[in-house]
């Protein structure tokens, strides 16, 4: 156990040994409610100091002109107003929405397809699961981002493989405005592993009797999929959709390493733009405002998904 739990540990010693004959302090310390607060203390401190303070602080800074180095100058809601005349803000918002709304469904379709494939039990299914999950394990690493950058370079693997099929071989995937974003989307889709595992777990919970009954009634496989599998999966699809879209909105590393927003901001992710504004151009106040806007967007989007829930998510209690 590390430093965090050392505190209650020490108190235990006091309570247990030194004050066995019930000192007032020791009795107080061993009460259930005191113990609860003491045990939760790491989180209480952590939440206040590392989350709540930055949240409050950041809200204040959104109302200032602040460059991190100098003094913060109060300017009211100017930062928010500035966004309306900021082309890059709208551009990055558009790119991020496009990325999140395209890559997430593709990833889920892919994940579901592979999960259905792997449902069949065999001696090697463990190996298959591992192979399909591996890209996701490494997905967030800089190594994979670098690899991706080289794969789609003009002299990279993708062009070489295309060349083998007699196709054009020196296309600059990352240098072209219409294809650059797709390389990032493909990278996102490639990391379908965790959604796949979640799908796999819930597919296994669908009772086989349902399928048996359906095939006795003469329902085709396709019909069984649309009428049994898919409806029963909707809660899982919903969960995956919410989690993965949020991840999509907040993507950073891929873009920062592979394209840096190039060419002509066609791949400028919101988070990368926020980073640039705050730390490269030292507009920390504006950066904080951008962060709050994204928080609002993520909140609204999640809320919107929850609103649509009753129209398409199967609910056993209903």
């Amino acid at each position: 156990m590390s430093q965090a739990s050392a505190v209650p540990g020490r108190r235990l010693g006091e309570a247990g040994v030194q004050f066995k004959k019930q000192g007032r302090f020791a009795r107080f310390m061993t009460l259930e409610r005191t113990s609860g607060v003491v045990c939760a203390l790491p989180f209480i401190i952590g939440f206040l100091v590392f989350l709540l303070v930055p949240i409050l602080l950041s809200f204040y800074y959104t109302l200032t002109d602040y460059s991190i180095i100098g003094e913060a100058k109060f300017i009211g809601i100017q930062n928010y107003l500035d966004m309306f005349s900021d082309d890059k803000f709208f551009k990055s918002l558009g790119v991020t929405f496009f990325y999140a709304l395209v890559s997430t469904p593709l990833r889920l379709v892919f994940a579901l397809f592979v999960a259905m494939l792997l449902l069949k039990n065999s001696k090697v299914s463990g190996f298959y699961r591992a192979a399909y999950y591996l890209p996701s394990i490494l997905g967030g690493s800089v190594a994979v981002a670098i690899l991706w950058k080289q794969m789609f370079a003009a002299d990279g693997v993708v062009n070489q493989v295309l060349g083998m099929f007699g196709l054009e071989t020196d296309f600059a995937w990352l240098g072209n405005e219409s294809t650059a974003i797709w390389t990032l989307i493909i990278l996102g889709v490639w990391q379908f592993g965790s959604s796949m595992l979640i799908f796999l777990a819930s597919l296994k919970q669908i009772p086989t009797e349902l399928y048996e009954a359906a095939s006795v009634d003469g329902a085709s496989k396709a019909r069984q999929f649309w009428k049994i599998t898919l409806p029963l999966l909707t809660p899982t699809i919903f969960f995956n959709l919410v989690m993965q879209s949020i991840n999509g909105f907040l993507a950073f590393t891929q873009c920062y390493i592979i394209t840096q927003g190039k060419p002509r901001n066609s791949t400028l992710f919101y988070m990368v733009y926020m980073y640039d504004e705050s730390f490269t151009r030292h507009h920390a106040g504006y950066g904080a405002a951008l962060a709050w806007v994204m928080l609002l967007i993520v909140g609204l989007y999640t809320g919107f998904l929850f609103l649509t829930k009753r129209f398409w998510v199967y609910d056993e209690e209903a």
Binding site: S2, Q3, A4, P8, G9, L12, A15, T30, R33, S35, G36, V37, C39, A40, P42, F43, G46, F47, F50, P54, S58, Y66, I68, M116, L117, L119, G126, A131, L134, P135, I137, L138, G139, G140, S141, V142, A143, I146, A153, D155, G156, V157, Q160, G193, S194, L197, A201, T208, Y211, S215, K221, F225, N240, Q244, I246, F252, Y256, S278, M294, L295
Partner: protein, 304 residues
């Protein structure tokens, strides 16, 4: 035996009994072969980029792109590893690995220890403010870390923590990732309360119950938590980018970025060699703890 197995996609419904005959038997075997060939080929396609990277690390650096289409090097070399391990500006790559290891291990130990005791408090003890804390935990789970990037930076700067590992380690020792609290809470809820009560009757304090009863029983959740925390800390790029400025203190993620910068020359062979080494810990953990990982994802639905 059924013809249904011919169609690999809805595979699990295959056990509907149909009369077995020699013909269906053959079709069954053919179906299985088709299934395995397809799934295997598809799986290889998925991990091909990673395999390609590892093999490229063994190619002479000037042939990496000329021979990008072929997987196996015609000429094997270890030069890339030798060059890569020299690192940058006098700092060897082993140092970068050591830095990452230090950060990831301490942050992980801190996260799991602090999350475990908080999870115990939240799921077992009644105390004032418990509900508020539960909500706070959910908030810390939902709140995207990236959104706090700017304000946290400003705050750490006020604390004088920038230019050090403190922002990469200390907050994690205070259970700021609600996800881990939640993971362990779920596990503690599955432990019978009668164990707590028995310990209490034997004179155990609430702290004693945590250390003697709960801790030994939550090992699976702790292992799962450690694996994920370690891998996330190991791959963490953004906070390293923000807070680490001296080259010799760079963790692996940041050092790799240096390798790929056009400004610092492009020894692609060395870059792929070091990239391959950098994914080694994650791959090894993955291979050893596959069961835990798969379980962890399937039950809690985390990202990754």
């Amino acid at each position: 035996m059924t013809t249904a197995t011919l169609n690999p996609t809805p595979a699990h419904k295959a056990d509907v009994p149909v009369h077995a005959s020699r013909e269906t038997n053959w079709r069954h075997i053919a179906g299985r072969v088709v299934y395995h060939v397809f799934v295997m080929a598809f799986a290889l396609l998925m991990i091909y980029p990673i395999i390609w990277m590892v093999f490229s690390a063994f190619k002479p650096t000037d042939t990496v792109f000329a021979t990008a289409g072929q997987l196996i090097p015609t000429e094997w070399t270890l030069d890339n590893f030798v060059n890569g391990l020299k690192g940058f500006m006098g700092t060897g790559f082993v140092r970068f690995m050591g830095n990452s290891l230090l950060i990831a291990v301490i942050a992980t130990a801190g996260t799991i220890a602090s999350s475990a005791i908080t999870a115990y408090a939240l799921s077992r003890l009644r105390f004032p403010g418990r509900r508020i804390l539960f909500v706070a935990m959910l908030v810390s789970m939902m709140l995207p870390a990236q959104v706090l990037m700017v304000p946290q930076y400003i705050w750490y700067q006020k604390l004088g923590w920038t230019d050090s590992y403190l922002p990469l380690i200390v907050p994690y020792c205070f259970a700021i990732q609600g996800f881990f609290i939640y993971l362990i809470m779920n596990f503690i809820d599955g432990i019978p309360r009668s164990l707590d009560e028995a310990a209490k009757i034997d004179g155990c304090s609430y702290y004693g119950i945590f250390f003697r009863v709960i801790v030994p029983l939550i090992t699976p959740a702790v292992v799962t938590g450690c694996i994920f925390s370690f891998m996330w800390r190991w791959d963490d790029f953004l906070s390293a980018l923000l807070y680490v400025n001296k080259t010799e203190w760079y963790p692996v993620s940041l050092a790799l970025k240096l390798f790929s910068d056009p400004s610092s020359g492009s020894d692609y062979g060395a870059m792929f060699a070091m990239a391959s080494i950098s994914i080694l810990p994650s791959v090894l953990i993955f291979l050893f703890f596959q069961k835990h990982l798969v379980q962890g994802v399937a039950t809690s639905g985390l990202k990754g």
